[in-house]
Amino acid sequence: MLRNGPDAFGWVTILLHWTIAILIAGLLVLGYVMTRPDIDPVLQFDLFQWHKSFGFTALGLAAIRAVWWLAGRHPASVAGLSTPERHASFAVHILLLCLTLAVPVTGWALASASTLDIPSFYFNLVVIPHLPLAKSAVAEALWTTAHAVLAYGLAGLVLLHAGAALHHHFIRHDAVLVRMLRNRWRDG
């Protein structure tokens, strides 16, 4: 089943969720490592380009996921969740959806506003144009700060989110994590 069911996630949601999760986790580590001041300059240049290509991939998938999320139905919450828990998880999911879009967009903006004017050559295949932003040191610094703050904010939220999922699985022994791992979970 590709689409979400009344109490189960479909394969599209599951695949998008985990692909994006892996990409984002990698991009957070990559983003941190590549901005260390003592890094070799050739390695830094190459890592920046990989970061941009994978970042655009994450942006594309997050956009598809957002459309899929808006267009499709959402399975009912797992039984046993209190109303505040449902609200909290819903709020976190909305925030995660927004940040997975906002973080790469601010990255795109900082690359576009940069006075370095380095093209984004997506996996050395196709040039992704810069956003139509005026290039200046001030604008670049602003977008860089926004990108870093939102990215690390996203990292914190992901830890919370993953922690909650693990808590449900290992402490509360409910279906929350399992139904995001496989398509059919009937007896949840």
Binding site: V42, F45, D46, T115, D117, P119, F121, P129
Partner: protein
Amino acid sequence: MSVRLTTLTAALTALAGFALQVSASEAKAPTLDDAAGRYDIDGSSQINFKVGQVGGGGISGKFTKFSGTFQLDRGDISKSVVEFALFPETVQTGEPRIENFLRSTAVFDTASYPKIVFRSTKITRTGENTAEIEGNLTAKGTTRTEHFEATLTEWNRRVIGFRIQGGVYRTRYNMSVGIPIYSNVVQFDMMVNGEKH
């Protein structure tokens, strides 16, 4: 300074070692002996380069500190020698972060290799006022043979000027960073002026 074609032709003829039919008045017209000799490359020269980037545009810059000589042979242009050295530390692109990147180990590594040196090994006349210069370029500890096209642009008793153009593959000098976003070819377009020694 404007240069007339006759002057160019005369200069090249002189450089090539052909007999020059000038009037006896030594004070006015340049003679063969005037053209031959040693010229010091002076600060009015422009050492410009460009590296293209995917999608158009690229990095344009110049080097502001350099030195060198032309030794023009009296009888035979092919025996002339061009020597040139530049200090990559003085690279200018208009963006300090790019300049620092170019100075770093990623590109010139100016701390370990402060000088880039060219010495011609063969000069071949290719036209009335053009020549091909072949020589050894040493950068970042690597020496390779390179070719440049020279066009005589100015010549009088004291001063000689050439426009020198040529492309250099930077992969040869262990400066491959950024390919293919930035072209492998560094395009040089230099106005090199010498003052008679």
